[in-house]
Point group: C2
Chain length 314, copies 2
């Protein structure tokens, strides 16, 4: 028994066939080209599913469901993507369109929700019934699972934890509010914080690291800090405090068993996770009295979206 | 069929008999006197249940369950109050102790959770399966209901939304962190903000209102603002912005159908609720694209705790 997982992004659509044990059998990406319209995107995606079946020598009749991760809000009860600005979708009947090609259950959800589900079922969140998945990338995304179920909110517009204000009247966010967590804890924010530190500290090793890699990235401060640079270390410390602030807020509100941390920044591994866990242990409400909330690195990487989308229909 | 609801507070224990339709038949309060120990508190509470039955002419055999609201964390699965600092409880076997007096189901939960459940079943939250109850009182308490079920979190330590940081490095909170929502949006915070405005503005009407009522309270700024005082109005505006900041954060994370607002400050009615709703409508993530989250005044008042505790066992 196999399931197709589709992870739609602004640049590419990633599609894979996934076994009921969560193993990714085969996968490929095609350009999104959303300007050609959703019907075209879904036709090409459906064709790719058939091609992948041939490639893996799996009869299409063995595909028992299709799950689709949407880069926006998606109403899983109706199969309609209510809004996905980056690919120009608004009230797009995704499930209906896919059902023209496949007569199997088709379920859609937000892409961060899919990744959360993927990690919970087949990744580093396996065994937890209550977890929050956080991606630290261009923005800060999240997926919340309580009692083994995704918390999607009314109109499936929930789990926008990146747009929790942690600094009233703070930095202006793309969403229009000021001081959102995303403005302080995303990779984008870290790059901004790193550049500001470089400007203020012309002799910091941050400059050498930036030159070595051709540009300032989310890794620059971590690398220079590991090389003993104090300025870089203080950038990293402050950044980790920002991440932890949002995590502790979520812990106080929902108190999950674990946070699963994904996205580009999670590749820093222990340099990120150890201080983050320490900050969490020391600062969450009534810490010491309750079991701590574990912070764990995501393990499915870029495949979390595909595997999680497939998990929607399992 | 009747249920006993017990709302334990630092000063008094409020007990009532509640019908299965959520009607409070009879109720009374006794002093908490927690220094006499939990066995004594529970013995006296049990005796009062029997007395109330006599008073209402209800046979104790008709009491089909006892629900208990705890001013702290309470593990509903074990019946143990893990921590309630104000009454000196730690790992207190509440259900076990009550079962010495009554052979009926006994369920315990946090007091704000009880109030949330009371409002959801029999108050202004009736009809909503997804809501967040917020009390604006000495602190900021909360209870979260998703799909008709209380979200208690691991060890039932969740729903501490008052301890969500909205201002990194902001005011020092009793919990040890800085910048918690409670430090800005509680009645205690409003009094502090009002006093600061009075000190800075000796000619504001805030002084006259304070004198008239003998002291500065959570009402002072609202009353002076209604009397046309600009300073008071700006205190109220800023305070409402703080409340709304936390509500919008919760809306972005969980996206419930409604917020039910209780606690002393909720008595300001439209003067509080109308601007709060407006702020919410204009500022939550992707507002305009999704149904707004309604902000509604709680209606059960001080009885929410008793009725909600009884609702635990219905």
């Amino acid at each position: 028994m196999y399931f197709a997982g589709i992870d739609i992004g602004g640049m590419s659509i990633k599609i894979g066939l996934v076994s009921s044990e969560g193993k990714l059998i085969v996968s490929r990406a095609i350009p999104t080209n959303h300007d050609l319209g959703y019907e075209d995107m879904i036709r090409r995606s459906s064709e790719l599913i058939s091609e992948l079946c041939k490639e893996a020598n799996i009869s299409t009749s063995k595909i028992k469901g299709i799950g689709v991760g949407i880069p926006g809000t998606a109403d899983s009860s109706t199969g309609i993507a209510t809004s996905a600005v980056n690919i120009g979708w608004k009230n797009t009947p995704v499930s209906e369109e896919f059902s023209k090609y496949f007569d199997v259950p088709i379920i859609i959800s937000n892409d961060a929700n899919c990744a959360a589900l993927g990690e919970q079922k087949f990744g580093s969140g396996a065994g937890y019934q209550n977890l929050i998945f956080i991606t630290l990338g261009t923005g800060v995304g999240s997926g919340i699972i309580i009692d083994g179920k995704l918390v999607e909110g009314v109109s499936c517009a929930g789990a926008e934890s990146g747009h929790m204000v942690i600094q009233v009247d703070g930095e202006l966010c793309n969403c229009g509010r000021c001081g959102c967590w995303e403005c302080y804890a995303s990779a984008t924010a870290l790059i901004k914080q790193t550049k500001a530190a470089m400007q203020a500290n012309p002799y910091s090793k941050l400059h050498a690291v930036g030159r070595k890699y051709g540009k300032v990235t989310g890794r620059t401060a971590f690398l220079a800090a590991q090389d003993g640079d104090d300025v870089a270390q203080s950038v990293v410390d402050k950044y980790i405090k920002y991440i932890a602030t949002g995590l502790i807020n979520l812990a106080n509100i929902i108190h999950p068993e674990a946070f699963i941390i994904g996205g580009g920044i999670s590749h820093e591994g222990d340099y990120l996770m150890k201080p983050l866990q320490q900050f969490m242990d020391n600062n969450f409400f009534a810490s010491g009295m309750y079991p701590t909330v574990k912070t764990i690195c995501a393990t499915l990487g870029n495949n979390a979206g595909i595997i999680g989308a497939a998990a929607l229909v399992m």
